[in-house]
């Protein structure tokens, strides 16, 4: 980029609202901020209209802090709770139609590559479980099969939260929700396996109560998507309203669910490992030197 994006127009400094001045002077653009510095810099997403105690909001804040290059990142989404927060962030958010976020991101990623060549322009899809696994399913899977180079993040609250609590494909079997009055009849969709089959280069499942881990997976996913291929992160971001989780128990619920059925998993393709090691110095992926075998 042009960090000009986050400068004052000369002569306008004193007239800009404080929010804006804070973003220019104390924002994360052009700096390497981390989740452990939260509270000491102006976040790209701060104010939002989400419900009190919303785990999804915490996850979105962490994810945006983790973007390796926020000054060159464009987010894409669709209808859902997450959209209400992301569209208030200080980076562009593209909303196309219901469930077409991975199609829009495919075109956006290709258009930006044509125009900017090797200069990274990170495209990140952030959409809910309904948007990703139900209405957007075809476009999500096809973007993966086509090896489109952008990151897809599913905010999995296991329900249509924004429309008032209807069953989604990611709801667990048996859950009684609107439109599933007798309980959900089929299993939670295994999108992780589908991502693997469709050829994603990096796949991770996370919960929001481990900020450093969220930061780590987001960073890897975005970097790998630049050059290697599609990446997928599935995050458990409970809906404390529809699942009646007391506000002060939201993180406890996340921990319980993590231990029970949403364990941290991470898949990194060999190509992605080599890329992270060579390009970005990830020591964990540097091939270990063969152990010398000595014979007595």
């Amino acid at each position: 980029m042009s960090l000009d994006y986050v400068k004052f127009t000369p002569g306008f400094e004193q007239f800009m609202p404080k929010e804006y001045r804070d973003m220019v002077e104390h924002g994360p653009f052009g700096k390497k901020t981390t989740v452990s510095q939260m509270g000491s810099f102006k976040e790209i997403l701060e104010e939002h209209p989400m419900c009190a105690g919303c785990a999804m909001t915490l996850f979105i804040r962490l994810a945006i802090i983790a973007f390796p290059n926020p000054e060159d990142t464009i987010t894409v989404g669709t209808a859902g709770c997450g959209r209400l927060a992301i569209s208030q962030a200080a980076i562009p958010f593209v909303y196309g139609n219901y469930g077409d976020q991975n199609g829009v991101a495919s075109g956006l990623s290709r258009g930006l590559r044509l125009r900017f060549g090797d200069k990274p322009k990170d495209v990140v899809v952030i959409a809910g479980d309904g948007g990703t696994a139900d209405i957007g399913f075809q476009q999500v899977l096809h973007s993966w099969f086509r090896k489109e180079r952008f990151t897809t993040i599913m905010l999995d609250n296991e329900v249509y939260g924004n429309t008032g609590g209807q069953e989604s494909g990611m709801t667990t079997r048996g859950a009684v929700l609107k439109m599933a009055p007798l309980g959900k009849k089929f299993e939670k969709m295994d999108m992780v396996t589908m991502a693997k089959v469709a050829g994603c280069s990096y796949i991770a499942t996370v919960v929001p109560n481990n900020p450093r881990r969220v930061e780590s997976v987001i960073k890897k996913a975005v970097l790998i998507a630049r050059d290697i291929g599609p990446t997928y992160i599935q995050a458990y971001t409970s809906c404390n309203i529809e699942y009646a989780i007391p506000t002060d128990k939201v993180m406890e619920d996340a921990k319980t669910v993590e231990d029970d059925r949403y364990k941290f998993t991470e898949y990194v393709s060999d190509e992605a490992k080599a890329y992270l090691a060579e390009r970005y110095g990830y020591k964990e992926f540097v091939p270990k030197a063969p152990v010398a075998v000595t014979t007595a």
Partner: protein, 401 residues
């Protein structure tokens, strides 16, 4: 800072970026015998397209595939087959949000499947061009010519033009980008033609030189920010208007919708200059006028010739743009007519309805003849319709045995 012009420089294929007015009006033309699909390819070869996204559906499949050949030859930046028309139109939107010049094609049920995207394109001010090679959308399934889908497109906020011939098509594809991309317009264009009649027939078309092409799209002339993180200032929003139930939200949405339609109106002066008017007339002082668009115009021309042989003088109004709708032009052209015949290739007669809503004394409009479902429109049925309107007995086509 001095503006840098690309005019006169070459693209990677050696084509010279040419002032569109010079290219379209002054440059020598070469008559070429091509199908409509091939004409689309030749126009796109000269259109400096960044991204084309394709999906097969009759009768546009051939054109969409031919543009793949252009991609293979290096004339287009990126090209692929999407997974459905809805996906394709979303992918087109993404590329346009990123600042690319985008082209696609669709038809009939594909148009309907993609429909959610069209008002979104218009609202997002994406100057994408979509060729619509019209065909039936009804059940039982039909792949045959029928223009009913245009009536849906006309309510989306897009510019909608209706080509009669392959020559119209060739010129309007190139001119369409020039109108669509004007900063005060910046709207998508649905460039329609009647499937098969135009796409699958051969015609002589005068082509501009192969070594000339349109200047590239400049996304920074867009009236809304390009989504590339290159346009200061930082985008910050509080309380997006999407979900709010209050007056300010309603007023914002209302004013934006009005602005989209106002932008279509502002396209008039550019379109008039490029297309030499939104309508074209012949003998509009005649008592009887045929007023229509697309290949119904061609059939009307034949009917006029047949009637002239019998001493009946009939004039013609060819409507080129449906959005913007040439309201004043149609009123003026039809002011002396006693009978206004509107032949159409669809069952509902959307063109006749539009005309009735436009002119005084709408009882002058004869809403027909109409054919649909792939039926052809022999000029004789237009002749018959006119004679019936005039109270002249004629032998019906059915009676011809």
């Amino acid at each position: 800072m001095e503006p840098i012009s690309v005019i006169g420089t070459k693209n990677k294929k050696g084509q010279v970026f040419t002032d569109p007015r010079v290219m379209m009006r002054d440059a020598p033309r070469t008559p070429s015998f091509y199908t409509g699909s091939e004409v689309i390819k030749e126009a796109i070869r000269r259109a400096s397209i960044d991204v084309m996204i394709a999906y097969p559906i009759t009768p546009q499949s051939e054109a969409a595939a031919l543009i793949g050949e252009l991609f293979a030859e290096g004339y287009i930046g990126d090209y692929f087959r999407g997974e459905s028309e809805f996906a394709v139109m979303s992918q087109c939107a993404g590329a346009a949000f990123g600042g690319a010049r985008v082209f696609t094609t669709t038809a009939g049920p594909g148009t309907m499947r993609a429909m959610e995207n069209f008002p979104m394109w218009a609202g997002a001010r994406l100057p994408i061009q979509c060729i619509v090679t019209c065909r039936g959308i009804n059940s039982p399934l039909s792949i045959q010519p029928d223009t009913i889908e245009i009536s849906y497109l006309m309510q989306t906020g897009m510019l909608v033009w209706h080509a009669e011939t392959a020559q119209d098509f060739y010129d309007w594809i190139l001119m369409g980008y020039m109108v669509s991309e004007e900063p005060e317009v910046h709207l998508p264009l649905a460039l329609c033609c009647d499937g098969f009649f135009v796409t699958h027939t051969k015609d002589v078309v005068d082509l501009t030189p192969t070594d000339m092409c349109l200047p590239p799209y400049d996304p920074y002339r867009s009236p809304v920010p390009c989504m590339d993180m290159e346009c200061p200032p930082v985008r910050m929003m509080r309380d997006p208007f999407i979900m709010k139930s209050n007056y300010i939200s309603y007023a914002t949405h209302a004013s934006w919708q009005q602005e989209v339609w106002a932008a279509a109106e502002r396209s008039r002066k550019h379109t008039i200059a490029w297309l030499n008017g939104l309508i074209e007339t012949e003998n509009s002082d005649a008592d009887i006028l045929i007023v229509t668009s697309g290949t119904a115009v061609s059939q009307g021309r034949e009917a006029i010739r047949l009637l002239a042989d019998e001493g009946i003088r009939v004039g013609l109004v060819k409507i080129k743009t449906l959005r913007p709708w040439p309201e004043e032009e149609i009123r003026e052209a039809t002011k002396h007519a006693t009978h206004i015949i509107v032949p159409e290739f669809n069952v509902i007669g959307w063109m006749a309805k539009e005309i009735k809503a436009t002119i005084p004394r709408s009882e002058r409009v004869v809403a027909g003849p109409r054919v649909c479902g792939g039926m052809t429109m022999p000029p004789e049925i237009i002749v018959e319709e006119i004679k019936r309107a005039l109270g002249i007995r004629s032998t019906t086509l059915a009676a011809r045995g």
